[in-house]
């Protein structure tokens, strides 16, 4: 036991970190966003370009090039923030080697910030607008994403210098019950999808009075298109770790695990480094900050089964059993990992905890709505201009999120639907756009908050295909344990596949709907219970599209291949251009005696190449659905 109090010990750490950080701030810092989203866009090459260019200018002693996480503007990746003393920190997007060369030459070697290439400044200044001045800045409120992309995720000092672990130091001087009271008072609801109050979960675990208690962080993010948890773990791992330590102190746990899927190697690396660094600083392990409270963390790598995000399946997989759900009760709070009481929360849930402890439950409750305090984090993807990671207060409407934060749909296309909550969520139409984003309102509308995936769809998306796509995912990910999910999703998928081929009648839709309702009501776990949501919501809001498929053999969005054919409109065809002929992989396009091009429907594989290849000035290739060629007479008349 140390003679110093946790706060005194923390102050020492904090001073070290701040002086460490300040030493860096005297130099110019180039912060390249290298979360997985950045890396996918080529950020590592950009970082290498910066290093090369800086060395070429012999600036390596004055310039630090560091990796940071994701600031949420994924549409502009790869991007970098340059903080040069004397200038506001500025973010540059869409980087390539030419731009890097220019920035190094003009800004780092010279003193011209090249505003024409800048996206935004990071702090208020007199010369250049900040991200807050973007239309989305009005709606965005960053709590758990605040530091993401601005701090060095791989250096604990970067986190401590910005008040990191101060909540832990504060809490360790109080009784464990104080943390629980604060979390309960904040009405923090679990961000894993269902929105169960975190405080109540923790309390149930304490009431189980186990001698051993475990704290597990569910980072088995598996929804297609969702990447919030990954970004947080990669960009600000200590925030989650601090949240877990606070939870452990509150419930009396000595051991915790982060269940991270193995497909997130960067997250695993960053979290492991963070755990190691926290141990060295005495923030994790035996007698934390000199107290008699000990808690340690370990990473468990999941193998990417979607169902392992379900609590009981996750625990089974950690115990070395098949990753399959169990019936509940007993709940994890009574009987979880190794049969001991266990707290299992999502990455984001834990990330809020240090902020709530630091700033108080009252502060937290003032954000969002009374029943749903705090913010919602979404990965905004699909047919939207500004894709990326966004954080808005609960209660923001879908319309604001899509049109203001996301800046609407690209290419002047018309909005059709928004899919929320991944394969367990639902598709909501235009009429539901004014639904406020919170756990309860979304559920009433037929979708779920889920873990926060949000996919925008336009007129070119076929809702039957979309439902089929999500169902194909859940059917593939079904563990096969219970009848409804194993066989029900299979039959639903078969029926949907039939509909995309135009098979079926009104009875088929009724059967699909009945089966979907039964799978929802009868399945063992939440994977099965929510799997029908995409089908049920599309049937509810887009039934006409289903009917067009089966009654008219027509796919309104012209997506379902069996219900369309490719046709070259004679009046539009230039005769002299041969692009479509060259683009066809099956030699289905030929030149007629009159010079016009025509598609041999027998040979056509509907690959879409000719439609893309036909020059914009002609646009002669069209898709026809239902797949009926215009009669010879009509063709001539045209």
């Amino acid at each position: 036991m140390s003679s110093l109090t946790p706060k005194e010990l923390y102050n020492k750490l904090s001073q070290e970190a701040i002086s460490h950080d300040e030493a860096h701030q005297e130099k110019t810092r180039v912060m390249v966003g290298t979360a997985t989203c950045g890396v996918a866009a080529g950020a590592l090459k950009i970082k290498a370009d910066f290093i090369r260019e800086v060395e070429a200018k012999n600036l390596q002693d004055e310039v630090d090039i560091v990796e940071v996480g994701c600031i949420g503007h994924c549409y502009a990746e790869p991007l970098a923030i340059i903080a040069k003393p004397g200038h506001p920190a500025i973010c540059y997007g869409h980087l390539d080697d030419g731009l890097v060369h220019r920035l190094v030459e003009d800004f780092l070697a010279g003193d011209d910030p090249s505003y024409e290439y800048a996206m935004a400044a990071l702090e208020r200044n007199d010369v250049f607008p900040t991200f807050e001045d973007f239309p989305r800045g009005v709606y965005e409120q960053k709590l758990i994403l605040e530091q993401c992309g601005f701090i060095d995720a791989r250096d604990i000092n970067s986190y401590i210098a910005r008040d990191g672990y101060s909540a832990l130091a504060m809490a360790l001087e109080e009784k464990p019950g104080w943390i629980l009271d604060e979390v309960k008072a904040s009405n923090l609801r679990g961000r894993g999808g269902a929105g169960f109050p975190a405080g109540r979960k923790w309390e149930a675990c304490i009431r189980s009075k186990g001698e051993e208690i475990y704290v597990i962080c569910n980072a088995d993010e598996g929804d297609p298109g969702a990447f919030m948890d990954r970004s947080i773990l990669e960009s600000d791992p200590h925030l989650v770790i601090e949240g877990m330590i606070l939870c452990a102190f509150a419930v009396g746990a000595r051991k915790g695990y982060l269940y991270i899927r193995a497909e997130y190697p960067r997250a695993v690396t960053h979290v492991q480094e963070a755990i190691d660094q926290a141990r060295v600083k005495g923030l994790l392990g035996e007698s934390i900050l000199g107290t008699d409270f000990s808690f340690d963390l370990e990473i468990f790598q999941g193998s990417g089964a979607f169902v392992c995000g379900e609590a009981t399946a996750l625990v089974n997989s950690m115990e070395g059993k098949m990753g399959m759900p169990e019936s509940r009760p007993p709940r994890l709070a009574q009987k979880g990992y190794r049969g001991k009481p266990t707290v299992l929360n999502n990455v984001k849930t834990f990330a809020y905890v240090p902020l709530i402890i630091r700033k108080g439950a009252k502060w937290f409750k003032e954000i969002g709505t009374p029943e749903n305090p705090g913010t919602a984090v979404f990965s905004l993807v699909g047919k939207v201009v500004n894709t990326g990671l966004v954080e808005v207060p609960m209660g923001t409407t879908l319309r604001q999120l899509i049109y203001e934060v996301g800046d609407g749909l690209p290419n002047g296309k018309e909005f059709k639907a928004v899919q929320i909550g991944g394969p367990s969520g639902g598709c909501l139409p235009e009429t539901a756009l004014d639904v406020p984003i919170d756990f309860d309102s979304l559920q009433d509308a037929g979708a779920i908050m889920g873990s926060g995936g949000l996919v925008v769809m336009d007129e070119d998306d076929c809702m039957v295909s979309v439902a089929r796509y999500f169902l194909e995912f859940t059917q593939h990910e079904s563990c096969g344990k219970c009848t409804f999910c194993r066989l029900g999703t299979k039959h639903m998928l078969d029926i949907l596949t039939g509909i995309t081929k135009g098979e079926g009648d009104d009875e088929t839709l009724n059967l699909l709907e009945e089966l979907a309702e039964d799978v929802r009501d009868g399945s063992l776990c939440n994977l099965g219970r929510t799997a029908p949501n995409p089908v049920l919501t599309t049937l509810k809001y887009f039934r006409d599209e289903y009917k067009a498929h089966i009654l008219e053999g027509r796919c309104p969005a012209k997506v379902c291949r069996d219900l369309l054919l490719y046709y070259i409109e004679p009046p539009k065809c230039s005769k002299l251009c041969n692009v479509c002929v060259g683009s066809c992989p099956t030699e289905a396009i030929f030149t007629r005696d009159d010079g016009l091009k025509e598609i041999d429907q027998e040979k056509c594989v509907k690959c879409d190449n000719c439609l893309k290849a036909c020059p914009d000035e002609y646009n002669a290739v069209v898709k026809l659905s239902p797949p009926v060629l215009p009669s010879e007479k009509e063709r001539k008349a045209k």
Binding site: G480, R486, L487, E514, G522
Partner: protein, 225 residues
């Protein structure tokens, strides 16, 4: 805690041991609830067949009776429109993946599926769901019995018998989703696996998936010694 709790099932007052699951209490009192996967001595039910739904007063949705512990004053009905609908769908889903050539099946007239169909008046042959087409090879490698997966309903009774009664552990579930099967380690034929051919699994099979080759059934205990 008192020695027993009183529950009301379909209007009938029943005294039950605390901690017992509703399904077994009902069955003990001659109240029929369809079920395939339930194992009485297991503390945590499999709850995978989804056939034993009942309605309990105060719970908004039908629940599986194998997972519900009896509570004093609990009021239960075993049939309702919602229960019947769920049971019918679950049953028909199971049948859509079951070899329905009953006349060729050794379990004909001695099959739990036939019992459920009769008691709940659900037709064995239905046209709501297309049969799932797949081919399984018959494993007739053991001397006294054979395993026809096309009849298996994945209830897990054989696996429990193999592990908990026979203490062998030759068979288990493998693969996921629609491909889930009962099989041996490395998918070996039973005779090449660690199976001792005690045939307790055959006794446990509620359908005709595991069946004796000879006409007159062995007694399992005789074989075990």
């Amino acid at each position: 805690m008192s020695e027993y709790v009183t529950v009301k099932i379909d209007g009938q007052e029943i005294k039950a041991k605390p901690g017992e699951k509703l399904l077994w209490v009902a069955l003990d009192n001659d109240i029929y609830i369809p079920h395939l996967c339930g194992i009485r001595s297991e503390e945590r039910s499999n709850a995978s067949c989804r056939l034993c739904f009942v309605e309990i007063e105060g719970i908004p949705r039908p629940v599986t009776s194998c997972t519900k512990t009896v509570e004093d004053g609990m009021v239960v009905i075993t049939r309702s429109e919602r229960v019947d609908r769920l049971v019918k769908t679950a049953f028909e889903l199971i049948l859509s993946d079951h070899n329905l050539k009953c006349r060729e099946c050794p379990a004909n007239r001695n099959c739990v599926l036939q019992v459920i169909a009769k008691k709940r008046k659900i037709k064995l042959r239905h046209d709501r769901f297309k049969p799932i087409a797949r081919e399984y090879e018959l494993d007739d490698s053991p001397a006294g019995f054979a395993f026809d997966r096309s009849r298996c309903v994945l209830c897990g009774q054989c696996i429990w018998a193999d592990r908990e009664e026979a203490k062998v552990g030759a068979i288990g579930f493998t693969k996921r989703g629609i491909n889930r099967v009962v099989t041996t380690f490395k998918d070996l034929p039973l005779a090449e696996s660690i199976c001792t051919q005690c045939m307790l699994c055959v006794e446990a099979c509620p359908v005709g998936a595991l069946f004796y080759k000879k006409k007159e059934p062995h007694t399992a205990t005789a074989d075990k010694s």
